[in-house]
Each structure stands twice: as C-alpha cells, then as structure tokens.
C-alpha cells in the first residue's frame, strides 16, 4: 500500500457513510495491526490466578494464627485455674492477702519487716 493510499484510507474511514469495518481490515492487511507479546495471555492469567493463590495463603495464615491464639488463651485459662486451686489449698481462702501471699502473716511482723525493728 502506498503512502497516498494509506492517507486516503485514513480520511475516508471517517466519512459517515463509509464501511469502517472494511477499511479497518484493509489497514490491518496493509500493516496497521496491533497485538501484544506472546507471553501476554500467560502474564494476565498469572496476575489473576497467582493473586488468588496469595489471597488463599494469607487466609490460611490468618486461620492458623487464630487457632494458635485460641490454644494460647486456653493454656492461660488452665494455668490461672491451677494457680487459684493451689492458692485455695495452701491459704484456705480467696482473699486478697492469699493472692498476695501474705495470708498467714500477722500485722506486727509486717511492721517489723518494713521498719527493721
């Protein structure tokens, strides 16, 4: 296709009555074609489905993290219960003094301890 022919096609493609489809095909045959590289489709699919895989991995991580959190929380609760049972067995009550470990201590001995006399 010569230069004047291409120019003429460009101008005539914009006429309201022109067969734009036919002109577009003519231009394409004349070398005015556009496409992407061979790897284009693969890259698009990677972007979509690899991203999906990443989201799945993130979801799996969050799921595992929450299960670890529950295990730690349950272990903590069990430890607190055992501690309370041992305090009750040793001190015989759940008073603040028992929790602080001074349930058996009399006031005078605390004064002696603090003042050193």
């Amino acid at each position: 296709m010569t230069r004047p022919e291409i120019k003429q096609l460009i101008i005539s493609s914009l006429d309201s009555g022109a067969d734009a489809g036919a002109i577009a095909r003519q231009l394409e045959d004349g070398g005015v074609s556009y496409d992407y590289s061979d790897k284009f489709t693969g890259r698009v699919l990677d972007k979509i489905f690899e991203a999906g895989l990443i989201i799945n991995r993130e979801q799996e991580f969050v799921r595992r993290l929450s299960s670890v959190f529950y295990r730690v929380a349950l272990t903590g609760v069990a430890a607190i219960v055992l501690l309370m049972i041992s305090i009750f067995l040793m001190e015989g009550s759940f008073s603040i003094n028992s929790f602080l470990g001074i349930g058996d201590t009399i006031d005078e001995s605390i004064v002696c301890l603090l003042t050193g006399n």
């Binding site: 296709m1 101008i11 002109i23 231009l27 070398g31 556009y34 284009f40 489709t41 698009v44 972007k47």
Partner: protein, 185 residues
C-alpha cells in the same frame, strides 16, 4: 474441567471463568487481546509499556465478570473497560506531566514501530500512528474506534457513551484535522 475452550461460545467461557477455570479465561484473553491492543496502542502509541495497561483491562474484566449481565456483547463490555482505562491513563499522564513541564501530554508518547520487518507495512503503521497522535484525545478516541476497530458511528456512540450527534461532529472535525496533519507527513 475441559482441556480446551477454543470452540466454546461466550456464555460457556464466562461461566467457566466464573468457576475459576483459567483456561476458559485465557481463551477470552486470546480472542480479544488484539482488539484491546488496537484501542490502547491507537490511543497511547505503539509502545511496549502499553502492555501493562492491556493486562489491567483483562484483570479488571475478570473481577467484574460476575456483574456482566449479557445486555451487550462481551466485546463491547471489554471495549468500554479498555476505553475508560486508557482515558484515565491519559489524564494521569497529563497531570503528571503538568507538574514538570508546560508541554502537552502528547509529548510523552513515543512510537515504536521498528519491530515491523516489511518497510511498507512499517511505514503504514507509522503514518497512522503519527496521524492519531496529532489529534486531541477526545477526537483520537472516536477515530480509533472508527478507523482501527471498524465500528459504525452507532456502535462508537454506544461504547463511548456519547450521543450519536457528538460522535458525528467529532468525526467530522477530526477528519478536517487529519487532512492537515497528513499533508505534513
């Protein structure tokens, strides 16, 4: 799961893609990649980096596929996404460029047609590219739809969501501008 979707119709491809079958969506990409390339490269120039925008079009299509009701052809739906993303890209570049220079955004476009071996074909592509780049984006988009995609004025109006009269007047004005541009080439 099918091994090939090359003969599947659009409805089947959409349904399989929504089920997460990558082969089906790959077939959609293969069928419409040239159409998307014509729009984006017609508007932004035939450069390598327009491939990223093309990929973005199909990623966006995949994520909005469940919203596609089938009122229009899939090609029209994809074309609308491509047009919107391309116009957004032009605006983004214009804003970016205006921060550094007083020149128009078209200064940023560059043509890469050296990959065409045939001298005659390379020249044809170069003339079309230069002619398009000489136009204002609002004219360039209607010319791209008409000249490169081969759409009728009615289809162009539907894709660009413009009144038919606006498309016709833009085509007429673009034709006048193109005559001047092509005279200098």
């Amino acid at each position: 799961m099918k091994e090939s979707y090359s003969r599947a119709d659009e409805t089947e491809l959409i349904r399989a893609s929504l089920d997460g079958e990558s082969l089906a969506f790959g077939e959609i990409v293969n069928r419409y990649r040239k159409m998307v390339a014509r729009t984006i490269r017609g508007m932004l120039g035939d450069t390598v980096f327009t491939e990223d925008l093309g990929q973005e079009v199909f990623v966006k299509l995949y994520h909005s596929l469940s919203e596609f009701r089938g009122d229009s052809k899939l090609a029209t739906y994809i074309q609308k996404i491509a047009v919107n993303l391309t116009l957004n890209e032009i605006k983004r570049r214009k804003r970016f460029l205006s921060m550094f220079t007083q020149k128009g955004s078209d200064e940023m476009y560059e043509m890469e047609v050296a990959d065409e071996n045939n001298e005659e074909k390379r020249e044809a592509k170069e003339i079309v590219g230069k002619a398009l780049m000489g136009l204002d984006p609002k004219f360039r988009i209607v010319v791209t739809m008409r000249m490169l995609q081969g759409y009728s004025t009615k289809e162009t109006a539907e894709i660009l969501e413009l009144p038919l009269g606006t498309v016709l007047s833009r085509l007429s004005r673009a034709q006048e501008q193109l005559k001047d541009i092509l005279q200098k080439l």
